[in-house]
């Protein structure tokens, strides 16, 4: 009977299809966020991180999105915001900032804090406070009290970066600072500048996506 066979076939297809769909579904959620990037260990309880911020990722399905990049100990720039650092250590951070200024929603974050000495160094010069309107992004780990504003690049400057990851030859600001990690665990980090143009409050899209303007700091016992 064709109807019955059709039914059996349909049932089989449904069961198999359903199983595959459920598997895919779980896999979609299991799909790891970006690959973790290990901080370079440069001494006993001292590590170094190199990051850059770019105005546009330039490729992939979110090519227009603003994003962070991180550098592996092998000096390769990868599109990731999962950073692994050792516990109870000093972390020297260098951020190459290629994006222009947007301005802070809450001006309070114009003052670097949670960093050693309460200062950050912009192109080598110590800065204790940044005019909030000049901020392009911030690097903030609220649970560690770390918040560092990153001054934007002058929009008139020649040789703007157009292709991520950017190189040192292109217009940028170099910001360095040092913070101290606590015990092992996962700490979230994010940007507080409403830098997602085209979204309400400048806070949609990349501002709410891990791998762009949000990430996790995985502090590991060394």
């Amino acid at each position: 009977m064709s109807a019955r066979r059709l039914g059996a076939l349909l049932a089989a297809v449904l069961v198999v299809g359903g199983g595959v769909a459920i598997g895919l579904y779980v896999a979609l959620f299991l799909e790891a966020s970006p690959p973790p990037v290990q901080a370079a260990v440069i001494g006993r309880r001292v590590a170094a991180l190199e990051l850059q911020t770019v105005a546009e990722v330039g490729h992939g399905e979110n090519s227009f999105w603003v994003s962070y990049y991180a550098r592996t100990p092998g000096h390769k720039w990868v599109h990731s915001t999962i950073l692994r650092v050792p516990a109870y250590s000093l972390v020297h951070v260098t951020v190459y900032q290629y994006d222009s200024a947007t301005g802070l929603r809450n001006p309070l974050w114009g003052q670097p804090r949670g960093v050693v000495g309460g200062v950050m160094y912009v192109n080598g010069k110590p800065v204790k406070v940044l005019n909030p309107e000049l901020a392009s992004h911030t690097f903030a780990i609220p649970e560690l009290g770390v918040s560092v504003p990153l001054p934007g690049v002058d929009e008139e400057a020649p040789n703007q970066c157009s292709n991520a990851p950017c190189t040192l030859a292109e217009a940028h600001n170099t910001i360095t600072f040092t913070f101290r990690t606590r015990g092992p665990g996962k700490y979230r980090w994010q940007c507080f500048v409403p830098c997602a143009a085209g979204f309400i409050f400048g806070f949609g899209g990349p501002m709410q996506s891990i791998g762009y303007m949000d990430g996790e700091l995985e502090v590991q016992s060394s």
């Binding site: 009977m1 064709s2 109807a3 019955r4 066979r5 059709l6 039914g7 076939l9 349909l10 359903g18 459920i22 579904y25 779980v26 979609l28 959620f29 299991l30 966020s33 399905e61 979110n62 090519s63 227009f64 999105w65 665990g185 996962k186 979230r188 997602a196 143009a197 085209g198 979204f199 309400i200 409050f201 806070f203 949609g204 899209g205 709410q208 996506s209 891990i210 996790e216």
Partner: protein
């Protein structure tokens, strides 16, 4: 499967694949995908030109929404929903039904037989219930650890939103869909629903909505939970559009179901089916249908406004541009609270339907039960701001909303009284449906009592937005509706499918479910009181052991559902125990009909002689005369 396999009798069959080309779910899917592509790549593309906020952000809501909307239209066209309206527009005469297939194929087409729609609903609802339940397992897995461990924070929020939204969407149809469509016409002595095509449409919107919602997974998810609060929803990623459209679709489906049920019960009752002989389940359907008809349009409007904010750029919910997030909260909860009773009331009706059968007594206090159901329905429109006690909206109205909310416990308590009176001096049988029905009262009492803490404005300050709320409504919806649903399913399965579900497996499922349901959700009251807000992916490490306990118990609930799946497969395909015509010895009219129920239900319009609860009254006539003479019909007021 070839054309050679022609049955001995009957018309010549076409090869089966010819059927694929003719208005069924297959053509629906094809046209749906085509509609999406045209909508997104052509219409949406043109409309969004020159709007940088759409085209230069990798988030083109216009394209996406146009695609989904046209895809839905395409699906419905492919299903054949436009055939009749277009025919009518060009002047065709009205007809009652379009077509009906035979065999399994009719479950995949626009079928206007209310029993087919009921079974379509049953499997549709169960499928999405399974998916949403799986989401719950994934959520609990994450909460094994106090910070993100398995899924990232954005995936976790999407999971929470999917679980909540899908459960809320599917459970609105959980009783009214399968049992309402299947049994209400039978119970009132009608041959069909009042508007069979609308009935089919109300079902087919459900899988569409489900698929659209699931598509959010591929569209970067949505971060708002099932409440979809603006203006977070305006800020959210593409998946939000899926939430808005699918919830609006469910709103349409709900309003249509309510509309159809009310007309059916109002106009199509058989002669002799007076309002006081109506089975209590039908009364609960009436109460629910009123809520759906009047509350769902507000939901549709609310979802549309958010969609306009996202797509067209209106400012309804933008606080710094003259809009107000409070507007959304009011609109949403004006729907949202009746929604809660849309979930609860059919459950009450179901258990009150089951209790008399298994205690072999009339339903105690029938009129009171009706009054209780209607009272709950009415009051539920006047309580919505109890969700907003700490929001800063109308704080001076808190005593009023506290009072109206607590008033609801009076009609709810009537249902308890009905149950207690019905059990009194009965001859109770602990069959599986009865177990589920009884468990509802235990669960719902805890749910209701915790509701008092939430309705109390001072106490609500601490419990609002915490896991306490979450435990509370799982006690009422899962402990109420889902238990009632399984009770009803075990009760009516023999009638619907001609197969008796295995009792032992049923009891195993019940006890697993009941015990671990309580072990899961009771500790969550404490979790909430101790400071864990809802929908968090990270919590205080001091609460980890409680959360781990809950997760372990939740897995066991999952196991109980696995037992159910095994039971269905085992009973239908291996055991195949044919039930007696009336296995529970019920007096309900549906059990007086042959199994399976013929396509027109009754050969003639029956005459109803008695209420379906005439237990203990040997002199009472049979509930219905299925083969009445003309004189009897006229005498009964037909």
């Amino acid at each position: 499967m070839s054309a050679a396999a022609i049955p001995a009798a009957g018309p010549v069959r076409e090869p089966w694949w010819r059927g694929l080309g003719r208005f069924n779910v297959f053509t629906g899917i094809v046209l749906g995908i085509g509609g999406y592509l045209i909508g997104a790549l052509v219409i949406g593309h043109v409309l969004s030109k020159g709007i940088p906020a759409q085209t230069e952000t990798n988030q083109n809501d216009i394209e996406f929404v146009c695609g989904i909307l046209l895809g839905i239209v395409g699906f419905l066209v492919g299903m054949g929903f436009l055939n009749y309206p277009i025919a009518r527009l060009t002047g065709a005469a009205p007809t009652l039904r379009e077509k009906e297939e035979k065999g399994i194929a009719r479950y995949f087409t626009l079928c206007t037989d209310h029993k087919v729609v009921g079974i379509q609903y049953l499997w549709g609802v169960l499928f999405f219930f399974l998916v949403a339940g799986l989401n719950a397992m994934l959520i609990r897995t994450q909460l094994l650890y106090p910070t993100e461990h398995f899924w990232s924070a954005d995936n976790y929020i999407t999971l929470v939103g999917l679980h909540g939204t899908m459960m809320m969407m599917m459970t609105t149809s959980m009783v009214l869909g399968p049992f309402g469509n299947y049994f209400v016409p039978v119970m009132v002595g009608a041959k069909r629903m009042a508007f069979p095509r609308i009935e089919a449409l109300s079902f087919w919107l459900l899988p569409v909505a489900g698929v659209v919602l699931l598509a959010a997974v591929g569209a970067k998810g949505f971060p708002t939970g099932w409440t979809g609060y603006a203006n977070l929803s305006v800020q959210a990623k593409l998946g939000m559009d899926c939430y808005l459209i699918s919830f609006a679709l469910i709103g349409i489906s709900m309003a249509l179901v309510g509309f159809n049920m009310l007309v059916t019960v109002y106009t199509m009752r058989a002669p002799g089916m007076t309002w006081t002989r109506l089975p209590i389940f039908v009364w609960s359907v009436i109460a629910t249908a009123f809520l759906q008809l009047l509350a769902a349009p507000v939901l549709i409007a609310g979802m549309s406004l958010v969609l306009l904010d996202r797509v067209v750029g209106t400012t309804f919910f933008m606080p710094f541009s003259g809009g107000s997030p409070f507007l959304y909260e009011n609109l949403f909860w004006f729907f949202g609270h009746p929604e809660v009773y849309i979930l609860a009331l059919p459950g009450f009706g179901l258990v009150l339907e089951i209790l008399p059968v298994f205690s072999r007594k009339p339903l105690w206090g029938y009129r009171l039960a009706v009054a209780g159901l209607m009272g709950v329905a009415l009051l539920s429109f006047f309580v919505w701001q109890h969700h907003l006690f700490v929001s800063g909206i109308n704080p001076d109205l808190r005593p009023f909303f506290m009072f109206t909310t607590e008033l609801i416990s009076i009609p709810t308590a009537l249902v308890f009284l009905n149950a207690m009176g019905t059990l009194f001096r009965g001859k109770i049988r602990f069959s599986v449906p009865m177990l589920f029905a009884l468990a509802l009262f235990f669960n719902f009492f805890i749910g209701g009592a915790s509701g008092v803490f939430l309705s109390d404005a001072p106490s609500d300050v601490s419990t609002h937005g915490s896991f306490f709320v979450m435990a509370h409504f799982h006690y009422t919806i899962m402990g109420g509706l889902v238990f009632a649903f399984f009770g009803g399913l075990f009760y009516w399965f023999p009638k619907m499918f001609g197969v008796h579900l295995n009792e032992k497996l049923g009891k195993l499922q019940f006890w697993l479910f009941f015990i671990f349901f309580n072990l899961t959700f009771f500790p969550l009251f404490a979790v909430g009181m101790l400071g864990q807000p809802r929908r968090v992916s990270a919590y205080s490490p001091s609460l980890q052991w409680l959360n781990d306990w809950v997760t372990a118990a939740a897995y066991m609930i999952g196991l109980s559902f696995a037992v159910f799946v095994v039971n269905v497969v085992y009973s239908c395909f291996f055991e195949r125990r044919r039930p007696e015509a009336n296995p529970w010895h019920s007096k309900g009219i549906e059990w007086q009909l042959p199994t399976p129920i013929p396509v027109d239900n009754f050969e003639r319009v029956p005459v109803i002689n008695a209420s379906p609860y005439e237990y203990g009254t040997p002199e009472a006539p049979l509930v219905a005369n299925l083969n009445p003479s003309h004189a009897e019909v006229v005498a009964a007021g037909g």
